[in-house]
């Protein structure tokens, strides 16, 4: 009989605020140690916390985006323990009454239920040297949300996919930048095994995993480790384990018996967080359409394939770019192709962020209009696009400057075609003798004659007419 893995994730996401959760210090990453600190986040005597409204707003946004119920009243609590990166000797978090409860995230065909979302402050950082440890408190007090899932995941790949989906939603809502290298997103995994249908087994908690790959590996390792113990008749010990990325394994940090008594209690320095329904509604208005909703709409309204829609919605910026382009071009299908094939290629080749990209949706949309109106041909369009990406010039300017506008004047094309036929009597004879493959060559000569600007369809038509007609 096989074992079934039961997995739940606790994801910590740093909220994208300019200042810390309870003081005015900046939250920026990578500053010199202990330069973004003040009496509040250093826990100087007499300094008091004042809640950052923006952090609450972002937490509410994320709660709405995951269909959580936003609690009209929630409570900040102190989680007490001593550590040098924790200046007050307690972390301000939410315990019994979190800001968001319930909710769920759709992940492929499966629904992952959320237990809760709560707001808390981050700790500082320790740097260990051979004979001493240094404390950097720049990060102390930066706002986080913790998103706790129910144990609905059944495999390492499920868990990684859910984590990916959650990151996407965090980035869509603007709650978090999703930057895993800078630690904006971290994850703890609760893993246990059971016989299918049996009650939950004893779990271990793997702490502080900061990549999708590590998460999958950590869970795989836990499943293997626990399976081996259970198969040999052993018992799982409830414990906290740390993932070691270098070794690809988890190691015991502390058992349940050694665990802290955090002595949670409501923080008397902060009032009950009361949230008006009207505020929730106004925040609801700022929550963008999420990937799942956009994919459905793209398929339905624009007849875009599921695969293309998935690619276009992976990043909110790209999805917004595509939608704006489609609106400007009045041609969603073409906009989808351009964004998917060309824009993503250029961004990838140049390692450019969308924010720094010189082509705007308006420019790309107008380029598509130029194609659709017949003003330029497909080949010229590519050239215009590459030039736009390079120079940031407007498409019309490039067409003008490079002389790329398409010739659709029948008389001009006919004149050029006559010239081509006159110069290539042998080929004309071959064609008329039945070697119709020569047709393409003659059209090519015509395009060359007109330096590629001839309307391709008309070029075909004119050559055919001339060849089929009685001798000119």
């Amino acid at each position: 009989m096989t074992w079934e893995a039961v997995i739940g994730l606790e994801v910590h996401a740093r909220l994208l605020t300019e200042s810390k959760l309870f003081c005015g210090c900046a939250t920026s990453f990578g500053a010199a140690p202990n330069t973004h600190v003040c009496p509040v986040c250093l826990a100087y005597p007499g300094a008091l916390p004042v809640l950052n409204r923006r952090a609450v707003e972002l937490a509410i946004r994320m709660a709405i985006a995951t269909d959580c119920e936003v609690q009209p009243r929630s409570v900040f609590a102190r989680k007490n323990y001593f550590y040098p990166d924790l200046p007050k000797g307690y972390q301000i978090s939410q315990f019994e009454r979190p800001i968001g409860t319930g909710g769920h995230v759709e992940n492929g065909g499966m629904t992952v239920r959320l237990t809760r979302i709560h707001i808390e402050e981050d700790a500082g950082k320790l740097m260990h040297e051979s004979d001493r440890s240094l404390v950097d408190l720049n990060r102390a007090g930066t706002p986080l949300i913790e998103i706790v899932s129910e144990p609905d995941l059944r495999s390492a790949s499920d868990a990684a996919a859910y984590f990916t989906r959650l990151r996407q939603i965090l980035m869509y809502t603007g709650a978090c930048d999703g930057n895993m290298e800078e630690g904006s997103l971290r994850c703890d995994a609760n893993v246990s095994l059971r016989r299918p249908g049996a009650p939950l087994g004893t779990r271990s908690e793997v702490k502080n995993v900061n990549s999708f790959r590590y998460l999958a590996r950590a869970i795989e390792f836990e499943i293997e480790r626990q399976t081996a113990i259970l198969e040999s008749g052993g018992k799982i010990v409830q414990e906290t384990r740390l993932f070691d990325p270098a070794a690809g394994e988890t190691r015991s940090m502390r058992t349940k018996e050694e665990s802290h008594d955090y002595r949670y209690f409501p923080d008397p320095d902060l009032l009950t967080l009361e949230i008006e329904q009207s505020w929730i509604e106004s925040i609801r208005g700022t929550v963008p359409l999420l990937p799942r909703q956009r994919i459905a709409r793209y398929q339905q309204d624009y007849a875009i394939s599921a695969g293309d829609a998935e690619v276009l919605t992976a990043d909110r910026g790209i999805a917004d770019f595509f939608e704006a382009t489609a609106a400007e071009a009045a041609n969603a299908k073409s906009a989808a192709n351009w964004v998917r094939n060309e824009v993503l290629r250029v961004l990838n080749d140049r390692k450019t962020e969308l924010a720094d990209y010189r082509v705007t949706p308006a420019m790309l949309g107008r380029l598509i209009r130029l194609i659709d109106s017949g003003a330029i041909g497909g080949k010229a369009a590519k050239e215009v696009f590459d030039e736009m990406s390079e120079s940031g010039d407007q498409p019309e300017t490039i067409v003008e400057k490079k002389g790329l506008s398409q010739v659709s004047d029948p008389a001009a094309i006919r004149d050029a075609a006559l010239l081509v036929l006159e110069r290539n009597p042998a080929q004309v004879e071959q064609y008329r003798a039945g070697k119709i493959q020569i047709f393409g060559f003659l059209v090519g000569q015509l395009m060359k004659e007109m330096r590629g600007r001839a309307n391709a369809e008309m070029a075909n038509q004119v050559i055919r007419e001339l060849l089929e007609s009685p001798r000119a």
């Binding site: 005597p45 007499g46 300094a47 809640l51 001593f82 007050k88 008397p268 902060l270």
Partner: protein
């Protein structure tokens, strides 16, 4: 108008503080020969942070700590002309009722230097009573302004919770702490409180309720005022404290107040509830004193564990350690519901009882303390009897209501006695009016000048 010469104040401190020991630091600044007309000297309890003098909280754990910012109340005082002439003694971290738990020695009562000045704000009370300063700031958690005011025969006010910003007040028990004021006359306290009161964006628990003009109508008497005597508080009260209280009540009757017995049924649980909540909050408020970022770090500590254990072990005195342990216990898993959880429920009941009583009464009266100033050393080894000093004062902190102590006469040994006036939330104005009436009718304050 609060008035007084800064030079005169500094001179009196120099002459008398050797005996009283009200001050932990005295301003060294050369006071300019000409003071601005509106300046006045003021003493500050040494658990309010100041940039120009160290803040010790009466503890060794802070070492020579200088705060990078002024407490909001201190900043407002300075802006209004207050010149801080010194910082006053207190029980370590305001935990005590006698200043005997100060790491830097006891403050003596100016009326009898074998007796305590009360606490924890004993230094501020003694400084005012001894004429060293006209006014002073203290802080309250369970009576730490009113009790020493009573012992020293002066006026002491604890405003409504949230009336004065706690920013810069080193926290003892955040849900109970409130900065209070001392003076010899009621009107001076009213003026001083008006200076420091009002909303502060740096304290989330500070109230946006507008500050009344406390001196407007302060002399209009008590005719028709509904005065309640808290029956449960005085039931077992005997002897001269009882006689003094009855006489004080008589003063209100004669003034035309409608005096009746009031009921606050849960008031008897106050001390038990107070010591659970206050110690629980204190146990985590004091975690920041860990020897890592500021304050005392043990010289012998070699490991992280030793930094914590030795720095705190050496830095905190026995009363603080006792309270941290009691508070830690009350919050610990498995005991939380029975202690902290239940204490919060009783506290809610007490608040409701006061709210009910204040439907019927404008103010409530009790004695401020069950007895006058006790002898130095008398209770220091008996924490429970020391804790009972707060029996009449702690209820107001738990309920968050304003309350004040007003001199009401003397014991047969010549020690000051005191009347406590309590009022509903943010009704300091009626409280001051009732106190002013009492002062006008009795003039016990004259004995202190």
């Amino acid at each position: 108008m609060i008035s007084g010469s800064i030079d005169e104040s500094l001179r009196t401190i120099r002459e008398n503080d050797g005996r009283i020991h009200a001050f932990l630091h005295v301003a060294k600044h050369d006071v300019p020969a000409i003071q601005p007309a509106d300046s006045f000297p003021v003493a500050i309890k040494d658990n309010l942070v100041t940039t120009d003098m160290p803040t010790t909280c009466g503890s060794r754990i802070l070492g020579e700590f200088y705060s990078p910012f002024d407490a909001t109340a201190v900043a407002r005082l300075r802006a209004a002309g207050g010149v801080i002439v010194g910082k006053t003694n207190l029980d370590e971290f305001a935990m005590g009722s006698s200043t005997e738990h100060s790491a830097f020695g006891v403050t003596r009562n100016p009326w009898d230097d074998t007796r305590v000045a009360g606490g924890s704000s004993g230094g501020s009370a003694a400084a005012v009573a001894a004429g060293m300063v006209p006014v002073a700031l203290g802080s309250e958690t369970g009576g730490s302004v009113r009790q020493p005011a009573a012992f020293c025969g002066i006026v002491g006010v604890k405003p409504t919770y949230g009336r004065v910003s706690r920013n810069g007040l080193v926290a003892f028990a955040s849900s109970l702490d409130q900065i209070g004021v001392f003076s010899r006359r009621v009107a001076e306290s009213a003026e001083l409180l008006a200076i420091i009161a009002g909303h502060d964006p740096l304290d989330s628990t500070s109230s946006r309720v507008l500050v009344d003009d406390y001196r407007d109508g302060i002399d209009s008497g008590v005719s028709g005022l509904r005065v309640g005597i808290v029956g449960e508080a005085i039931r077992d009260l005997k002897g001269e404290v009882r006689a003094n209280f009855d006489a004080a009540v008589e003063v209100y009757r004669r003034g035309g107040a409608k005096v009746e017995t009031a009921h606050v049924p849960s008031i008897g649980y106050s001390i038990a509830v107070y010591y659970i909540i206050a110690n629980a909050e204190a146990s985590t408020n004091l975690s920041r004193f860990d020897g890592i970022r500021y304050g005392h770090r043990s010289a012998r500590a070699r490991t992280l564990g030793e930094i914590y254990f030795d720095s705190r072990g050496e830095g905190f005195g026995p009363e603080v350690k006792r309270r941290i342990m009691l508070g830690t216990f009350a919050l610990s898993s498995g005991y939380y519901d029975a202690y902290y959880g239940r204490a919060q429920k009783v506290r809610a009941k007490l608040r409701a009882d006061f709210a009910t009583a204040f439907k019927q009464f404008d103010i409530l009266l009790t004695p401020t303390t069950p007895e006058p100033a006790f002898r130095i050393g008398e209770k220091v080894s008996d924490p429970l009897s020391m804790y009972l000093s707060d029996i009449f004062t702690a209820p107001a902190n738990l309920a968050g209501i304003p309350a004040m102590a007003v001199p009401s006469g003397f014991s047969s040994e010549g020690l000051p006695l005191s009347l406590q006036i309590m009022a509903p939330h943010f009704q300091e104005k009626v409280m001051f009016r009732a106190a002013q009436f009492f002062e006008n009718e009795t003039a016990y304050w004259r004995a202190t000048t």
